[in-house]
């Protein structure tokens, strides 16, 4: 029952995050979603990942969003075209319903003899290839961001024309 409560809470927060008009509120709702998901993870028996999700998902990512929103400025976001909205919703619900219908029947029970290898061993030993690749991904991401945010001659011109960064 607790699972359901937290789950519904997380879904509610997610819906709020994507429907709220103001971007800053949206980011905060996302942080809340993240926190509730972390709680669910904790209940499922993953304390480590819950902590990390809380700090990275709810913390770091939110900071990043706030930072980005500061850079770009708030912008009012009108609603999408109702036709697209309706089509998207119908299609999405159909997909999810099909998936749920297919996925749910088999039993979902935890086995009696769980593998109790500690997370650290698995992460740093068993899946160390993944870890190395993460390091490379961080390097790649850093290069990409550096490349994207570099100043370019044409753009400085445009900034002078538009000191507010408005069109």
């Amino acid at each position: 029952m607790v699972y359901a409560l937290i789950g519904v809470g997380a879904l509610g927060c997610a819906i709020a995050a994507v429907t709220t008009k103001r971007l800053l509120n949206s980011a905060i709702w996302l942080a809340l979603t993240s926190a509730l998901v972390a709680l669910e993870m904790y209940l499922l028996g993953g304390p480590f990942i819950a902590v990390i999700e809380l700090s990275v998902g709810a913390g770091l990512v939110t900071v990043l969003f706030v930072f980005a929103i500061n850079l770009t400025g708030e912008e009012s976001t009108p609603n999408a075209h109702p036709v697209l909205k309706g089509l998207a919703l119908v299609c999405l619900l159909a997909c999810l319903a099909l998936v749920a219908y297919w996925v749910l029947p088999p039993t979902l029970v935890s086995p009696s003899n769980p593998d109790t290898q500690p997370l650290a061993t698995i992460f740093w030993e068993g899946r160390r290839l993944d870890t190395w690749l993460q390091a490379l991904l961080i390097f790649t991401g850093a290069l990409t961001v550096l490349g994207l945010l570099r100043s370019t001659p044409q753009e400085t011109d445009q900034k002078e024309e538009n000191p507010d960064g408005l069109p």
Binding site: A80, L84, L87, A88, C91, L92, A94, C95, L98, V99, W102
Partner: protein, 602 residues
């Protein structure tokens, strides 16, 4: 057995192609010289194959996997067509020295002509269906490149693309045939297939047979694919002579003749071949009667004559069709090159602006007349003998008589449009142009003379040709048999005696005289056209339809337009909106889910 020299008729022109291209367009004299040298060398290699026309020399290079082997082999049919390709090729190149003098991009021109000669040799020499298709496509590519040679002219480009797409579409028939053959036998060997066509199930055999018919019809510009050939006349005239009259368009007839033993028994196939040939012969002859562009008239006449050959194959006269192929290659190349000399001299292709050229171009007039008489089927010239053989094959063998009668009508029409063409170009009152017209130059004469001699004499080769084909095509039943073999015995010399014998036989046959009468009626009909005005008026509708290619042009256009419009309409799907793009992902997901659900349920 490794007979590396079999690669020469392919390799020599290809080497020449490379050489001419590497020389570059800054040295046109060197390009002309190199092209002539290499094409004449190629002609020599082709002629050198003649001793192998009645025995088999093979070359086999294993390629591995699904690509099987690269095979070349000689027999009567392949050697004969190699000789036609290389010899007429070299004559066309020699003719080009005058005709293309001072043109742009000579390198491209000669490179593709030489590349074509090699590819055509490859097409007829190979006995692997895969490589036959490869060469088949290469000849189409060269044809396309040369039709679109003056590619600043949108008409030339359109003609080129049309020829490419139509022959490619037809080529799919050959492609699928080859694939079916491989699927059932694990090899592309043609001779193995001809020896035992029943290795493939009857249904597949019939698919193959009709697929090959489509391929042949597209390549030989037969009904209903005939429309590309007249548009291909944008090519430089030596190219029209070589590719679109004497060699490439014969590939379809060659294909049908080559595979005749395998498909002979397929129900309905022979009738279909005959009908395709008959319709092409008849319709194209009608169109030739009303066209005013000299090259287009010749193009229609090519379609019509190819129709005769296709019809002959369907009627069971494989030998007759190949013999007519030989005659036609010679006299049609002569006509085209002669027309090239006229066009080069006058600078126009419109026959209404010609006339009276008899005085200013006596040499061209003389050789052109020879070709025209051969085309009309006047005795002694080679066209007469071969056409008679076809009609006799059509009248015998239990073939439907109505088709044969329509073919005889076509011979009459052939005579009519020939005399119309000749009188418009060379006789009558000259228009203002003809005083400036100059007769053919040295190189042109060098090319025209051997062809004129050939027109007079190639029919004498009937006997040797028959012997070569008969001894080297093990799966074909050639129709010359009972009667003439007795003549051979009487004559003593087996080969030349046969020529004599067949000649006698043709002259004895009553149908010959009937055909000759029709031909004469055709001739007279044109001369007396003013008196027949009322009769012609009733044919006005036919004329109009003929000018519009009996509606095939419209069908073509409609298909092209439909495809283009669909392409344009579909561009809406690339909305550029991210939201719709993501929606498309979702849609894809839904469809795959539903399909999987259905698939799992079944």
């Amino acid at each position: 057995m490794v007979n590396g020299w079999l690669l020469l008729p392919i390799g020599v022109p290809w080497l020449g192609c490379l050489a001419v291209w590497l020389v570059g367009d800054r040295k046109p004299r060197l390009q002309h010289t190199l092209a002539v040298i290499f094409s004449v060398l190629a002609g020599a290699t082709g002629l050198a194959l003649i001793p192998w026309s009645s025995q088999r020399a093979t070359l086999l290079l294993p390629l591995g996997g699904v690509f099987d082997d690269f095979r070349l082999a000689t027999d009567g049919l392949s050697v004969f067509l190699t000789v036609v390709a290389t010899v007429i090729g070299s004559l066309a190149v020699i003719f080009s020295v005058d005709y293309m003098h001072g043109e742009h991009s000579l390198g491209r021109y000669y490179a593709f002509v030489l590349f074509f000669i090699g590819s055509m040799s490859g097409l007829v020499l190979t006995t692997s269906l895969l490589w036959m298709f490869v060469f088949w496509e290469l000849t189409a590519l060269c044809s396309y490149a040369l039709i679109a040679f003056h590619n600043d002219d949108p008409k030339a480009v359109r003609g080129g693309v049309k020829a490419l797409i139509m022959t490619q579409l037809g080529g799919l028939g050959l492609l699928f045939g080859a694939l079916w053959l491989y699927a059932y036998t694990g090899s592309y060997d043609i001779n193995q297939f001809l020896g035992n066509p029943n290795v493939v199930p009857p249904a597949v055999l019939s698919w193959m047979a009709f697929g090959f018919l489509i391929a042949a019809a597209a390549k030989s510009a037969q009904f209903p694919f005939q429309t590309w050939l007249p548009d291909a006349m944008e090519a430089p005239t030596p190219v029209s002579a070589l590719i679109h009259a004497a060699t490439m368009v014969n590939a379809g007839v060659y294909l049908l003749a080559r595979f005749y033993p395998a498909f002979e028994a397929v129900p309905g196939w022979r009738l279909a071949v005959m009908i395709v040939g008959m319709l092409s012969a008849l319709l194209a002859a009608l169109m030739a009667l009303v066209a005013f562009d000299l090259k287009r008239v010749l193009a229609y006449s090519t379609v019509s004559q190819l129709g005769f050959m296709v019809y002959a194959v369907g009627a069971g006269g494989v030998f007759a069709s190949q013999f007519h192929l030989m005659s036609h290659s010679v006299f049609k190349a002569l006509l085209f090159l002669g027309a090239g000399a006229v066009i080069h001299g006058l600078g126009t292709r419109d026959m209404r602006q010609m006339g009276g050229l008899r005085q200013s171009m006596p040499f061209t007039h003389a050789v052109f007349m020879l070709g025209a008489l051969a085309l009309a089927g006047i005795p002694i010239l080679n066209g007469f003998w071969s056409k008679e053989l076809i009609l006799e094959a059509g009248l015998g063998h239990g073939n439907p008589a109505w088709i044969a009668w329509l073919m005889i009508l076509s011979t009459g029409l052939t005579a009519a449009y020939t005399v119309r063409m000749v009188s418009l170009v060379f006789y009558g009152n000259g228009s203002k142009h003809h005083h400036e017209a100059h007769d053919a130059g040295m190189a042109m004469r060098t090319a025209l003379l051997p062809l004129a001699a050939g027109t007079l004499s190639t029919w004498l080769l009937l006997g040797p040709f028959y012997t070569a084909l008969k001894s080297s095509l093990p799966y074909h039943t050639l129709e010359l048999g009972t009667v003439w073999e007795e003549v051979v015995k009487v004559a003593g010399s087996p080969e030349w005696g046969m020529t004599l014998g067949v000649g006698m036989e043709i002259l004895r046959e009553p149908s010959t005289y009937l055909v000759l009468c029709v031909v004469i009626v055709g001739l007279v009909a044109w001369l007396g056209r003013s008196r027949l005005a009322s009769l012609i008026a009733t044919f006005k509708g036919v004329e109009k339809a003929a000018q519009a290619s009996f509606g095939f042009e419209a069908i073509n256009e409609a298909v092209v337009q439909a495809v283009q419009k669909t392409g344009e309409a579909l561009r809406v799907t690339q909305t550029g909106y991210l939201a719709w793009n993501v929606f498309a992902i979702l849609l894809g997901w839904l469809v795959v889910l539903i399909l999987t659900m259905l698939g799992r349920a079944s």
